[in-house]
């Protein structure tokens, strides 16, 4: 007994030991590798491909940050985290940043002492039901059994939504998307609810996608974004502005195809500042002058990353929707590089 208490305490203390460090930028440079927390596997967002290489929308952000800081998009150690382990891994310093479709909420930002460095995907919670049920609105779901991934913000929204509309439901807690799919298709639950992007991705894998509909209600805002530990502002700036660089690059028309050409210098001062041919933005961040150029080269600009991993040409088939540039009616808006 003594031994197990000792080991338990050792584990906890060991985890916490790294928490108090400052200067993550220097740590990452010294280590020569970025430790990036991702999901344990959600195709399109973060999952290893057939060759064991991590691929996906969130993974691309990790690679961009690694390229900006270390100049090498492959200098990333991907740490798979579950909904349960993600925050402990970040708080303890096991990972330098978390890019794992995590919703930016008040308590995570304030109480858990994390810092969200922006939004890389604007999502919202939706419902999927079989067409045969004849349901056309989420408000008709009184008495339904709802499959829900536990420990997520969607779980809380679900409780709030049904409570606010004064209807009842029976939650069926499940751990993973795969499990939800099996339960839903077996008819063990009437409804599956999660982020609308996840529903679309899941429905796309069904044998008969036409037999299932997404209800019109989107009951929550789910801004998903990367986060770092609170208090290390230099590191927070690096991650924030790497994401902004990818978004700005799309807005300014900088792509992985034309970036070499543009890096030689252009007429547009903002592109010049972004790519480091003018001004000292890189120096202010404590990075090389061409940090943003490297980040964009790693996987392309935001639009390219989106199209390659989760866009309409992929099996996931998500439209840009809210995630279009502000100039095209979306919410993506990077502060100016000046």
């Amino acid at each position: 007994m003594k031994k197990s208490v000792f080991l338990g305490a050792a584990t906890i203390a060991g985890l916490a030991a790294g928490a108090a460090m400052a200067g993550t930028v220097d740590d990452v440079k010294a280590r020569g590798k970025l430790n990036c927390g991702v999901t344990t596997g959600l195709v399109g967002f973060a999952a290893p491909d057939a060759n064991g290489e991590w691929q996906g929308f969130d993974v691309s952000l990790c690679r961009a940050v690694a390229a900006a800081v270390l100049g090498d998009a492959n200098a990333v150690e991907f740490v798979p985290t579950t909904g349960k382990t993600r925050f402990t891994a970040l708080a303890s310093g096991e990972i330098d940043m978390l890019a794992r479709n995590t919703t930016w909420t008040f308590s995570r930002d304030v109480d858990l002492k994390f810092e969200f460095t922006g939004v890389n995907y604007y999502d919202g919670q939706g419902f999927m039901v079989p067409k045969a049920l004849g349901v056309s609105s989420a408000k008709e779901l009184d008495g339904a059994r709802v499959c829900i991934q536990t420990g997520t913000t969607t779980e809380l929204n679900l409780a709030d939504f049904f409570r606010a509309n004064n209807i009842s439901y029976e939650p069926v807690p499940i751990e993973t998307n795969a499990e939800a799919q099996q339960q839903y298709l077996a008819g063990a639950c009437d409804v599956y609810t999660t982020d609308a992007s996840g529903l679309a991705a899941t429905r796309a894998t069904f044998e008969a996608p036409d037999e299932h509909i997404l209800l019109p209600e989107i009951i929550s805002k789910e801004p998903l974004g990367p986060l770092v530990r609170h208090g290390d502002h230099e590191w927070g700036d690096v991650v924030r502005w790497t994401l902004n660089a990818l978004i700005s690059a799309e807005e300014l028309g900088v792509t992985s195809a034309n970036i070499d050409e543009l890096s030689a210098g252009t007429d547009n001062p903002e592109i010049n500042r972004l790519l480091g041919t003018e001004g000292t933005l890189g120096e202010m961040l404590g990075l090389d002058a061409d940090w943003a150029a490297k980040a964009i080269k790693a996987g392309g600009n935001y639009g390219e990353i989106f199209a390659k991993n989760i866009g309409e040409e992929t099996p996931i088939g998500l439209a840009r929707g809210l995630n279009a540039q502000w100039t095209e009616g979306g919410l993506l808006y990077s502060p100016p590089f000046r």
Partner: protein, 410 residues
């Protein structure tokens, strides 16, 4: 001649702590204890300091906050506005419920399988050997998932009960076996003696306990009579009457009716419902641990000398009575200590409930609450405390029972 004096008092020297075997073991134990205490203190202090440096602190105040999530199976009142502490309580009761049910059924399975494995019938004993080996050698998590998957895949969804020509129909018009669990009628009292349903049920339980006492008394009297006169009076009819008459009378007085489950828009409602996760977890834990208990029972029976069986047979006892009256009571002394471990295992293994979505304490406090609040260290410490307490309580209870059946040595 010198006079006898007291032997010189061995004066204590510091080196004796190492060299003298009387003190040496003590010395090392004290040193070990100090080192362990210091390490724990150091690590704990390190943890607290680092948390503080990160702007965090160990705080249990989140337990009072509103939990915000719903739980599908609850033995006490709970809704999404209840506190995290309440959610933990719901989970705790669910853990205890499934552990209690599984302990009982695992014991039944185990005793039957253990006895049958020693059967002279080749087929029966080999069948039991196959059962024991298959279940003992595959992890319980796999069994839980297999049983749950088979249940959801094989049993029909509620929609199969719908329509003019449903593909499934309810057993006796009142039992529905679906992939969401089993729905069955709930007894209700039309004119109960008390306003609250719980009090009415307490009354029923009280009557049953009364019957149990009285029938025990009848049995005792019969044994006494047998010892005095050598003849045992028939007890079956009186006992049957003692059990049935008050119970049936009470049911008639209180007006027993049944609330039969009905298919509503999405689901069956009304009646009682044993959820799929509970059934899968309960069955898997019982049948898995049952295999281990079977081995304990077999070991216990084999520990009793064959001479006991032969002696009992020489007295003219039949096989069944030899087992019941001679072998098993002695075997219990060997069976119970390892049985305690199996009960602890059931309780701890019930934490695998999360695999099938059963809301035990690991799922509520250690899963959703931990996730929603991010208070990992606090939640895990509470979980450890709970499982430790539960295990020690079960162990104490079973050890008291063990003390009452073990060989009395004087």
């Amino acid at each position: 001649m010198s006079t006898m004096t007291d032997p010189p008092k061995a004066d204590f020297r510091l080196s004796m702590l190492i060299n003298d075997t009387r003190y040496r073991s003590l010395t090392f134990q004290v040193i070990a204890a100090i080192v362990i205490a210091l390490s724990i203190w150091y690590l704990g202090n390190n943890l607290i300091q680092n948390l503080r440096a990160a702007g965090l602190n160990i705080s249990y105040s989140f337990l009072g906050d509103s939990a915000g999530y719903d739980i599908n199976q609850r033995l006490v009142e709970y809704d999404s506005q209840s506190s995290h502490a309440r959610a933990a309580l719901v989970g705790l009761l669910n853990t205890l419920l499934v552990a209690f049910l599984a302990c009982i059924t695992a014991t039944v399975f185990g005793v039957i399988a253990g006895v049958l494995r020693l059967s002279n019938n080749w087929l029966v004993s080999k069948l039991m050997a196959v059962y024991v080996e298959i279940f003992r050698n595959i992890p319980v998590l796999i069994w839980i998932i297999i049983i749950f998957t088979i249940m959801t895949a094989v049993l029909p969804p509620p929609s199969a009960f719908r329509g003019e020509n449903p593909t499934s129909s309810m057993l006796f018009g009142s039992f529905a076996f679906t992939n969401r669990g089993i729905y069955f009628p709930r007894p209700e009292f039309a004119n109960g003696l008390f306003a609250s349903a719980a009090l009415n049920w307490l009354l029923v339980i009280a009557v049953l306990i009364g019957s149990w006492f009285v029938s025990g008394e009848v049995e005792k009297r019969a044994t006494k009579k047998q010892e005095e006169t050598g003849e045992r009076p028939a007890t079956l009819l009186p006992k049957l009457a003692i059990w049935l008459v008050p119970f049936v009378l009470l049911m008639i007085i209180m007006g027993l009716t049944w609330d039969v489950p009905e298919l509503k828009r999405f689901n069956f409602s009304g009646g009682l419902n044993a959820g799929g996760p509970l059934i899968a977890l309960w069955f898997a834990l019982s049948i898995y641990t049952g295999a281990f208990i079977a081995e304990n029972v077999r070991a216990g029976i084999q520990a009793i000398s064959k001479g006991q069986t032969e002696a009992a047979a020489a007295l003219g006892l039949r096989q069944g009575r030899i087992m019941k009256l001679v072998i098993l009571p002695q075997a219990l002394r060997v069976i119970i200590p390892p049985l305690i471990s199996q009960y602890l295992n059931i309780t701890k293994n019930s934490s695998l409930a999360i695999a099938v979505g059963y809301a035990d304490i690991t799922a509520t406090l250690g899963g959703i609450t931990l996730n929603q609040t991010g208070r990992a260290i606090e939640c895990v410490l509470l979980l450890m405390l709970f499982y430790l307490t539960a295990s020690l309580l079960i162990s104490t209870g079973m050890n008291i029972y063990n003390a009452s059946v073990k060989l009395k040595e004087r």
